[in-house]
């Protein structure tokens, strides 16, 4: 199939960006979205143009590297799917596709479709952990955890930190991301000791990074490729009030 791409090109964080048109010809429906971009880039390089920079690594939907707004939707049209697992059979011959980077003040553009998500790392560094040193941990079965709690904690911990929640929120809020980590640790006995400090520190870090507030419209949940539930935001709010 043949497609028309309208791609955000921006040389670096300082220069202004703009939409540039490209033709993607002879695209197979079996290609992943990123493989389609590989093909376009190979053509650009042969023609002497600068290839489109985009982020990717595992291409199995788990590392959280890939991040493209596709026709205004984070990771494209399919629910529960990352950009790398989106295949071209989701599009039609002759389609025009818009490709843009995540849009959020806290995620500055690095180049083209690549943004800087290190704000997420700094939020985790502020408290998204259990303070345990290596060695000397008690036997793992000395701390029984109800299966239900462990399962819900696992659902929260599934977050891949891609930033789709921020990109799809009109306030660029990081509440879903932060709430997933807060809920994961708040649901487990290991996370209890530091839970008040943790939520305060992480929320403060979130604000400091310039992420906006939640206004309960749940675009984040709709966009999340791992289908993290908005219920965790309720847990975050509760934990924050209790702290």
């Amino acid at each position: 199939m043949d497609l028309k791409l309208k791609v955000w090109r921006q040389k670096n964080a300082k220069e202004k960006g703009k939409i540039v048109n490209y033709d993607a010809k002879g695209i197979s429906p079996d290609m992943s979205f990123l493989e389609m971009l590989d093909v376009v880039n190979e053509d650009l390089i042969v023609k002497g143009d600068d290839p489109i920079a985009f982020e990717h690594d595992c291409r199995e939907g788990i590392c959280g590297s890939c991040n493209i707004m596709i026709n205004g939707e984070a990771h494209g049209p399919l629910p529960g799917v990352t950009t790398c697992q989106l295949h071209m059979r989701s599009f039609k011959d002759g389609d025009t596709i818009y490709l843009e980077p995540w849009r959020a003040k806290a995620f500055p553009v690095v180049k083209d479709l690549v943004v800087d998500r290190s704000g997420f790392d700094r939020i985790i560094q502020a408290g998204g952990f259990v303070s345990v040193n290596t060695g000397g941990a008690p036997d793992a079965n000395a701390l029984p955890i109800p299966k239900k709690d462990a399962d819900v904690a696992m659902d929260a911990a599934t977050c891949i930190g891609c930033g789709a929640c921020v990109a799809s929120c009109k306030n660029a809020s990081a509440m879903l991301f932060v709430s997933a980590k807060i809920s994961h640790l708040a649901l487990l006995p290991q996370g209890q000791v530091e839970k008040k400090e943790r939520v305060k520190n992480m929320v403060n870090a979130m604000d400091k990074e310039g992420f906006g507030n939640c206004t309960n419209q749940y675009e984040c949940e709709a966009a999340c490729p791992k289908e993290i539930k908005r219920d965790f935001i309720r847990v975050l709010n509760k934990e924050y009030i209790l702290s």
Partner: protein, 638 residues
């Protein structure tokens, strides 16, 4: 030069404890006077960085991803082994040790593997304490499953995302230390060279991938945790960024590369759908429990599989291995698939695929049961191929998955270059010629949390503090100049071919000539062709853009340049090892039934190669493997 593995004396069960009781220690107040550089933030590098920082060392950690949380360990699915015996099914440290040695086809070092089995139980304790949400029983205790033919249930798991959860555990420990200022983290950077001063590893050359700035960093020791080299085959289950550069450039600075020909090939991957394909996706091997593998009896039969009657199907595994059938060992299943496809019976685009058919299982058990067992895998398959595996058989083909070779290390996980430590998939030590399922995660975390933090202290105490070299040292200047000139050279060629086109060409040769099966002829042919591709690369590659910006083509070019040299080393190693074992199968050396035929008399050793220049034959060193506790036996799973 003789390879001293520094295995402590004494009985196997006591070696590690005795070692720990007698090594030199660094006074806590002196630890902050040492700087350690860690390359990579996967299970090995992330856990090592966190632990070294907890101990009090200054740690500088580098990763090429935008965040340390994205290292490729995150993609591991199945689980992590540990000899906890929670199921009371007779598991023990010895059994885990024995299974690992046997699984590796008796080509791993006994003492290292025993230690791995010993510390495995601590890993689970550590991860649970961090809040890793392992699967639980209703009573609240940890759940286990069995894996990869083991006769006990020793595999701990977190849904199908065990690697992700373990990595996030290590990442959270690392993040805590970054927040405390004990680790200086450098994401989006790449190691370009190792700096060796007076025979000791003392620093690295780093390129900032955003600004392009090349800088040098000095330390008292360097730890490589940069993963495996499966992407030398271009198509593999590895993440796209996985590369050999850090270990290969250390090799060029004098570290020995051991057993590079040991690559693990997994039988159940989704096959290539066309020339555009950039990587392969692994499907769980558990599918072979209910799926039947077949190809049409007629070559080039393109009929819809449902239209091919039973009498015209060849269930080749059931035919060739009647007792094991579809559950025969990984290497045999992989090679058999290649054989039928090479003979023209393969199905799907390009004929590189075989059917994995669930129709008889669905008829026997009902669609509901199959959906309960494998639903998520069926969904993933449909997402990638656009075909519904409940209606049409899956197509599968083997793919490169894990590499057991790596830089040679001694019992301390130190390479032959003092001060250079190598951990996780980047070293060669624990898996022999084959890796069992759920054991790579175990090794990464064992090395990072529980082994390296002891052994590196012993080294640092010996060299003493206050000896961190200045980055003004001539060796740093030279390494930095060399790195810059390679970058400038790559950018100045301005040829006609893209980096990827060279990588694909190399990958095809590696796969065809040194893949699931190798022989004298195919390897010699590869050793002629690879230098030719390399020569053309340096004449005709086109790397657009400049060196002072985010330039993904330039990053790839440097890595492919290394693969073009490393591929030759891998083939040479495969040619030299005239036997079959685990992931290394020489067709000249097989039993009548197709099993690998080992030659313990001539090849019961690790081969460690010493760099002698581009195109020059490296020098071969051998570490004889001593088996004091296990009797060498023919590996058989019948």
């Amino acid at each position: 030069m003789s390879l001293d593995s520094k295995i402590p004396s004494g009985p196997l069960e006591k070696k590690w404890d005795d070692y720990k009781s007698h090594i030199k220690l660094v006074n806590p107040a002196n630890k902050r006077k040492y700087t350690v550089i860690v390359i990579g933030t996967g299970l090995a590098g992330g856990s090592a960085s966190a632990t070294l920082a907890e101990l009090g060392y200054n740690v500088k950690t580098f990763c090429f991803q935008d965040s340390p949380r994205r290292a490729h360990s995150i993609a591991a699915q199945g689980g992590i082994n540990a000899a906890k015996n929670y199921q009371n099914d007779g598991d023990s440290v010895y059994r885990l040790f024995y299974d690992t040695i046997k699984g590796g086809d008796f080509r791993a070092r006994e003492a290292n593997v025993y230690r791995l089995a010993q510390v495995s139980a601590n890993i689970i304790d550590q991860c649970v304490a961090q809040g890793v949400p392992f699967a639980r029983e209703y009573g609240g205790h940890l759940d286990n499953r069995s894996f990869g033919g083991a006769q006990v249930s020793r595999t701990f798991y977190a849904k199908g995302q065990t690697g992700q959860q373990l990595l996030l555990g290590a990442y959270s420990a690392l993040s805590r230390q970054i927040g405390l200022g004990n680790v200086k983290m450098y994401p989006r950077t790449e190691m370009l060279d190792l700096v060796v001063i007076d025979g000791h590893a003392k620093g690295v050359v780093i390129r900032d991938l955003v600004t392009g700035q090349v800088s040098v960093h000095s330390a008292d020791a360097v730890v490589l945790a940069s993963g495996g080299y499966g992407n030398v085959f271009y198509l593999s289950t590895n993440a796209k960024g996985s590369n050999v550069t850090a270990t290969f450039r250390a090799y060029k600075k004098g570290a020995f590369f051991a057993n590079p020909c040991y690559t693990q090939i997994h039988p159940t991957c989704i096959p290539v759908s066309g020339d555009h394909q950039s990587k392969l996706t692994l499907m769980s091997e558990s599918l072979r429990n209910d799926g039947r593998i077949w190809v049409p009896k007629k070559q080039g039969d393109t009929r819809n599989p449902a239209d091919i009657p039973e009498s015209e199907r060849d269930y080749y595994l059931e035919r060739k291995y009647p007792s094991y059938g579809n559950l025969c060992p990984r290497d045999i299943a992989s090679r058999s698939a290649k054989e039928v496809c090479d003979a023209g019976f393969g199905v799907g685009p390009g004929g590189q695929g075989v059917y994995l058919d669930f129709s008889s299982a669905i008829k026997r058990l009902g669609e509901h049961t199959i959906a309960e067992r494998y639903g998520n895998l069926f969904q993933m398959y449909e997402q990638i191929t656009g075909e519904n595996p409940y209606k049409v058989p899956m197509r599968i083909y083997p793919a490169v998955h894990y590499t057991m070779g790596g830089l040679w290390v001694d019992y301390n996980l130190m390479s032959n270059l003092p001060g250079l430590f190598v951990i996780g998939e980047a070293n060669f030590s624990d898996h022999g010629a084959n890796r069992l399922g759920a054991s790579a995660l175990m090794q990464g975390l064992a090395d990072g949390y529980f082994v390296l933090p002891y052994t590196i202290g012993n080294y640092l105490a010996e060299v003493g503090f206050g000896k961190t070299p200045s980055t003004d040292h001539a060796e740093f200047k030279k390494a930095e100049t060399d790195a810059n000139s390679q970058i400038n050279k790559l950018l100045s060629i301005k040829g006609k071919r893209t980096v990827d086109s060279f990588h694909k060409e190399l990958g095809k040769i590696m796969w065809n000539n040194c893949g699931m099966a190798r022989d004298d002829k195919s390897l010699k042919e590869a050793l002629v062709k690879i230098p030719q591709i390399r020569e053309e690369f340096w004449q005709n590659v086109n790397v657009p853009g400049s060196g002072l910006e985010l330039n993904q083509s330039l990053e790839k070019a440097g890595r492919v340049a290394d693969f073009l040299e490393f591929g030759e080393l891998l083939c040479l190693d495969a040619l030299t090892r005239e036997e079959s074992c685990g992931g290394h199968f020489r067709t000249e050396h097989q039993m009548d039934d197709g099993e690998a035929k080992r030659d313990d008399e001539k090849f019961c050793h690790a081969t460690a190669w010493e760099w002698k220049g581009v195109g020059a034959k490296p020098t071969e060193h051998r570490e004889k493997l001593e088996f004091e506790n296990i009797k060498l036996a023919t590996r058989s799973y019948k």
